[in-house]
């Protein structure tokens, strides 16, 4: 759901400029974020969407792009998010 992508993008924009960031861009490989950001992102996702990020969720394929985060969110709340 594009709404999730937009909300995630808004959160990202608290930390770095997102005007050149595509939804499919790898934020870890691109040097945008570090472990400090990751732990804040997880805390925010859990509180904002009332979900729990489990140990099995803690993998790069779930967090590397805005698309992948939105898709994980969709799975967590039972909504299909197109890539």
């Amino acid at each position: 759901m594009s709404e999730y992508k937009q909300i995630v993008r808004q959160f990202f924009s608290r930390f770095f400029r997102t005007d050149g960031l595509d939804d499919a861009d790898d934020v870890f490989a691109g040097g945008y974020v570090n472990s400090l950001f990751a732990i804040q992102l997880i805390a925010w996702l859990e509180k904002e969407f009332s979900i729990t990020i489990e140990d099995d969720d803690l993998q790069l394929t779930n967090f590397s792009t805005i698309n992948s985060i939105a898709q994980m969110l969709g799975r967590k709340v039972g909504v299909v998010v197109p890539a």
């Binding site: 950001f37 990751a38 805390a43 993998q59 790069l60």
Partner: protein, 342 residues
């Protein structure tokens, strides 16, 4: 979490080494609870909760210091197992730990493992005669072909530093609260000493320059305590900005403890330099608080960068560009604060 902080303040007020035991033990238990698989939780959490197993954190290394991105310990896959190679230094209570949370690299990605003390290939040597927190039973752990099952991995490769941050966030909060305890212990000692010691025909408490130092300790302590309470409340509520405020609390509390100890020793004069008085130990322990869980300088860099980050965000929201240019990705990268000399 606020109550947890008060507990750690009171422990720090009495003995920073005892507080450290609880800190590192809790860091491991908390991390397993947060990110451990079902098997690890079932096996270790009851033992850790009952104190039948002691946990310790293996992050700092001889060549990497406090930079968790520079760890040289590596994990090499071997079937369903991993072989660990490397060294971890300054492990608080590493001498008696039964379980270590070890940060290493796997295919150049950070990854965290739990390693049991009795694993073949793990050797532990004591580090003695440290300047402060002398009861912390520091150790050097060496991993040589140390074989661990894949089930001992916490999180997936790429998230080792994030797993470590889970532990470090709690540790940073604990150290901040413990530092408030040190400052309070300095104040307690100064009250007693200034109230009972006469110089130049008057009790020390009647000398205005002594009063100035006492007032500085009081003010610093109260401010540090309030910052810790705020950070604790934010941690409890799940506010993602708790990290920033835990950094602020740790920075202020640890430096406040050092200032308090410096003044306390000064008030005690030569007696303050003697192990017969508690402020001598408090000063040594206070210095350690400025180094562990991220040095003062790491805290300063991180706090300033987070501050500028917020400044830029507000400028962007207002439609402007704070710097007048577009920063490159590496420039945008937040400064890694991942500092943890145990």
């Amino acid at each position: 979490m606020v109550t947890y902080g008060i507990l750690h303040e009171e422990l720090g007020r009495a003995c920073s080494s005892v507080r450290t035991l609880l800190t590192v033990h809790d860091m491991i238990a908390h991390t397993i609870l947060r990110w451990g698989g079902a098997g690890l939780k079932e096996r270790w959490l009851p033992l850790l909760a009952k104190g039948e197993a002691i946990g310790a954190l293996g992050i700092s290394e001889p060549n990497a210091g406090s930079d968790i991105n520079a760890v040289e310990t590596v994990a090499v896959a071997d079937g369903d197992e991993f072989l660990l190679h490397g060294q971890k230094k300054w492990i608080s209570f590493g001498q008696i730990a039964d379980l270590y949370l070890v940060l290493c690299k796997y295919n150049d990605l950070p990854v965290a493992f739990l390693v049991e003390r009795d694993r073949p290939g793990l050797s532990v040597e004591p580090i003695n005669d440290m300047f402060g927190t002398r009861g912390s039973m520091l150790a050097l752990a060496t991993f040589k072909h140390c074989r661990v099952p894949k089930e001992n991995m916490i999180g997936k490769p790429g998230f080792g530093a994030t797993v470590a941050q889970t532990a470090l966030g709690l540790g940073r909060y604990s150290v901040a609260c413990g530092a408030v305890g040190i400052a309070q212990a300095c104040l307690d000692a100064c009250y007693e000493y200034a109230n009972s010691t006469k110089r130049s025909g008057a009790f020390l408490k009647e000398h205005q320059l002594i009063q100035q130092m006492i007032s500085d300790i009081i003010t610093d302590s109260v401010a540090a305590r309030l910052l810790c309470r705020q950070a604790g409340a934010m941690r409890e509520s799940g506010d993602f900005q708790d990290i920033m405020h835990t950094f602020i609390a740790k920075y202020h509390a640890s430096t406040a403890a050092m200032r308090a100890a410096d003044r306390a020793v000064q008030i005690h004069g030569a007696n303050g330099c003697s192990p017969s008085y508690p402020v001598e130990r408090l000063m040594r322990d206070a210095k350690i608080m400025e180094i562990i869980e991220g040095s003062t300088q790491i805290q300063q860099i991180t706090i300033a960068n987070l501050g500028f980050q917020e400044f830029e965000r507000q400028k962007l929201m207002a439609g402007g560009d704070s710097a007048g240019h577009h920063a490159s990705a590496p420039e945008r990268r937040q400064v890694e604060f991942d500092a943890v000399t145990q």
